[in-house]
Symmetry: D2
Subunit: 304 residues, 4 copies
């Protein structure tokens, strides 16, 4: 398995002071660096330098990074991405603070994704010797780690194919116009390991992001997150609820700039031989929001 996970999400925010308050005090991430107009955060259960990067000026995703296990894998990714037809370039150590050299790819959907093999390690907040189960004093919702992102693309099938062919991801669940082989693919959830998704792709305008998500420890932490959002006047899009797709429990909420975040907990263990789940349009409401079984307008239209 060459790719380990989505290691960082780099987004634009309209107001850095508000954004720092949100990601620091509400989401409960640890600020690890502020430099050159960018602010870097990590979750308490992450050991690399950062998983979220904020940059002032608008909204939306600047780029995201996927970590690979060792440098030797970058050549293969470069070759396969080039063969796929994506725009590929080498990046140097230091282009991203604390991040190694790597490969930068511009997807046909115009999203920029970077593959890197190392980031300055800063360690788990609980340490690695007889550690406690979590830090004694968590802030806000205390998000442990970045989990996944849902990006938006005009041609979902093409981006699914990129992640399959270039980095060996596999789909766990798919939303299509029907069960037929030639059905049109509306969305896909893909993983490289046992999680439900490292990346998901939804049909829509190229280059947009629907949300990026933090993994929480369970349904009760989802409730606690919702309570903290109420205390902090954090706008909630929807939730707490369950997704039919992935079975995960969730709240969608917005940062002060309007980027959608998610708290996600649960979901099942995925494996490459697990049958892929297919959702068809008559059940899409249930697939997205299992309890309400209908999509709200915001969910369908707000992408940054």
């Amino acid at each position: 398995m060459s790719v380990l996970r989505m290691g960082y999400m780099h987004v634009r925010v309209t107001d850095m002071a508000e954004a720092k308050q949100h990601y620091g005090n509400t989401v409960g991430l640890y600020q690890t660096l502020e430099q050159d107009g960018k602010v870097y955060f990590k979750g308490w259960d992450e050991w690399d330098h950062h998983s979220v990067v904020l940059e002032e000026g608008g909204v939306g995703m600047v780029k995201c990074g996927f970590k690979v296990l060792d440098p030797g894998e970058l050549d293969g990714i470069e070759a396969r991405a080039t063969r796929f037809g994506a725009v590929v370039e080498r990046m140097s150590a230091g282009e991203n603070a604390e991040v190694s050299d790597g490969i930068r790819v511009i997807l046909p959907s115009t999203h920029v994704i970077e593959f890197y093999h190392s980031m300055t390690p800063v360690g788990l907040e609980v340490g690695t010797h007889n550690p406690d189960a979590f830090p004694r004093h968590l802030v806000g919702i205390g998000a442990p780690r970045l989990d996944h992102a849902l990006i938006v693309a005009e041609d979902v099938g093409e981006i699914e194919r990129f992640f399959k062919e270039v980095v060996d991801f596999y789909p766990t669940e798919r939303l299509a116009t029907s069960l037929d082989d030639d059905a049109h693919l509306i969305a896909t959830w893909m993983t490289i390991g046992n999680t439900n998704h490292d990346i998901a792709i939804l049909e829509g305008p190229n280059g947009k992001i629907h949300h990026f998500a933090f993994e929480m420890r369970g349904w009760d932490d989802i409730l606690h997150a919702g309570d903290i959002f109420a205390m902090d006047d954090t706008p909630v899009d929807i939730g707490p609820t369950r997704h039919g797709i992935t079975r995960g429990t969730t709240i969608y909420f917005f940062d002060p700039s309007g980027n959608r975040n998610e708290t996600f907990a649960g979901g099942y263990q995925c494996f490459r031989d697990r049958p892929v789940v297919t959702w068809t349009p008559e059940a899409v409401g249930k697939g997205i929001f299992y309890h309400a079984r209908e999509l709200n307008e915001r969910f369908m239209t707000v992408m940054t």
Copy 2:
């Protein structure tokens, strides 16, 4: 304490077959009687004959009953209700199946409420000798017991006064136009004991009911209830979420006729000396739905 609790809710349904499916298989109540066009249900953690009565023909509340500890208390209720100015009449044993004689009161809001001192006991599903914590095989959401109702009245203050003066209830939380002494009362949550509410009253058209609620065991059972609603195509109004008012966690949903039900869990222990909480209009969204902080149209307008 003269009144023990709201002992039964008697509602109309448009289709009895569908209603039996809903209250029996989805809510998971136990049918205890079908007679004279009425169907009677109890929860697994109730010991009296029934707590829900269904009657075909329309929607909405026919009446509800409050149980008192002993027959001797009925005289006092009759006297105080008469003094209050309500319409009061004696009812005989058997007017309600399996229910003792008692007092019937028509509130100024036109709601009919009955006070009775006994109902045929049928016992807890788990028994009383070395009982298990719950029945081994619960159906649907497995609602343990009826908890409370929210009724609608043009003059909330008047109905609050009725429950205070006639049956010694006390308000635990109130929604008013301001904190001033002469503020207009929009809603009130009242209890006779330690629960958050046996009855709540919301401003609106006389004689209507907003919902009646079943007590669940916790936040996880609220999730499970939502999941069962998805499987059974039970329309969900809102939730899972938390109420700011009472702190309880909740899902509002509808029976097939359109009567609103609630699953309610949590909330705090109330006492007569606990300071009353007051909500004012700028926070009403948060008070009702703590996470979303806004009321949906349905919640405000659908009353049966």
Copy 3:
């Protein structure tokens, strides 16, 4: 209903500095006073001045207090306690810091219990105007409130009778040698309202206390409490587990002096007409610890 609840528990501790650390930083109570060698605490969801009083010098219960709704009820309690044969005396305002005048009773079991009608109010931590569901920053396990105590007496039946006859408590569950009417009573759980117990009495040496308990919000908070105990090296007696008796979920733990505390969550709503549950010796293990179904040595022998 004359008695509202057990309002305070006053215990001895061997080391005040350690005890303050325990009740303040681990249990998460708020210190409200330190005076004359005594330290006073309250939970975040309590409004009166204190619910726990610590006094240096040994271990065990000094006394506990029950709050009544108004002063007029004290005469009746005095009369009934005297008739019962207990030692009764009037106490003055100020004998207990911030507590009104009242009645002091020495039970036949030598336990001292006080009845009082008011305590200096200090308010809920979340306030009473558009309050949040809990304080933004809780400490340790963040115990909301004192819930109940289990005291030990040679003659359980006699003390049960005291609470019935003098202050109108009723038993919700009982442990007896058999189901026969003349069975020997080993333990009883009694309440004045809708909780499972305000006080419980277990057979054993007079004057001892088995534990006193804080009410938690649910099973997940029980887990969190256990995690905090691990971080703070708080000795755990048993749990997390469920009680068969009351169905509550629980952890028993010890303060640094050896007084047993409990975190208790759940349990069902009690009512005076609910059938009393009876446990018999063959199921006592299951009654106390539902999952393990056996009592540990500590549980049976450590009383302070």
Copy 4:
């Protein structure tokens, strides 16, 4: 990644009728075959034919199987296992009912493990088209899937090395006599993917198994499992509690023959670059049982 997961655990039981009752009605697995004195079960969230095999005659592990993604990987495993010095043989399709051909390895610890590339698929209980989040009617604790096993070996380091070198597992947590490089390894938790462990190895008599575990959905399902064990008189070893190691929540319990089972929920996402956690003996109690912080006698001595 060549190995997908531990696909089946094959154990001996002393009484098949009791064992079927346990794994079918209490654990809630689905029986898929009874043939030649063996009984086969799967969990509701598994799609291959079986994950548990029972065989009458004694107790303990007969063997366990690991599934690989495709047949081509078996050659490499065979070569590396042979080079490692293990006893290796080819097995034919049908030697295990419904299981493909593969490789059988006898570890130096005498445990038999099999690698296979396919098993007759029987499908998820919820299907793959617009599926519900779980089956409407689960039995007993409703275990979704087999998760991992803890086997016992005289030389833990050797077996850890086997899983590293032969099938590319990596350790996530380790228990050693100290933090020194030459410390003696007492136990190790290893995974091939993102779970906390597919296999763990504990120092002790060769060929024994400490337990095998089913993955549950969360802490509340752990409570529910404990409650079902109480109802079914299933012996509980310890729990509900949390492991310090893996952070998972757990109950250990026994099948009627004395084989130890576990319900396991939670734990964190593992990655090959995550720092390995090391536990040292002074914290072993906390590592195994986070709340009690001491091991019980049974846990240390009962291995089958």
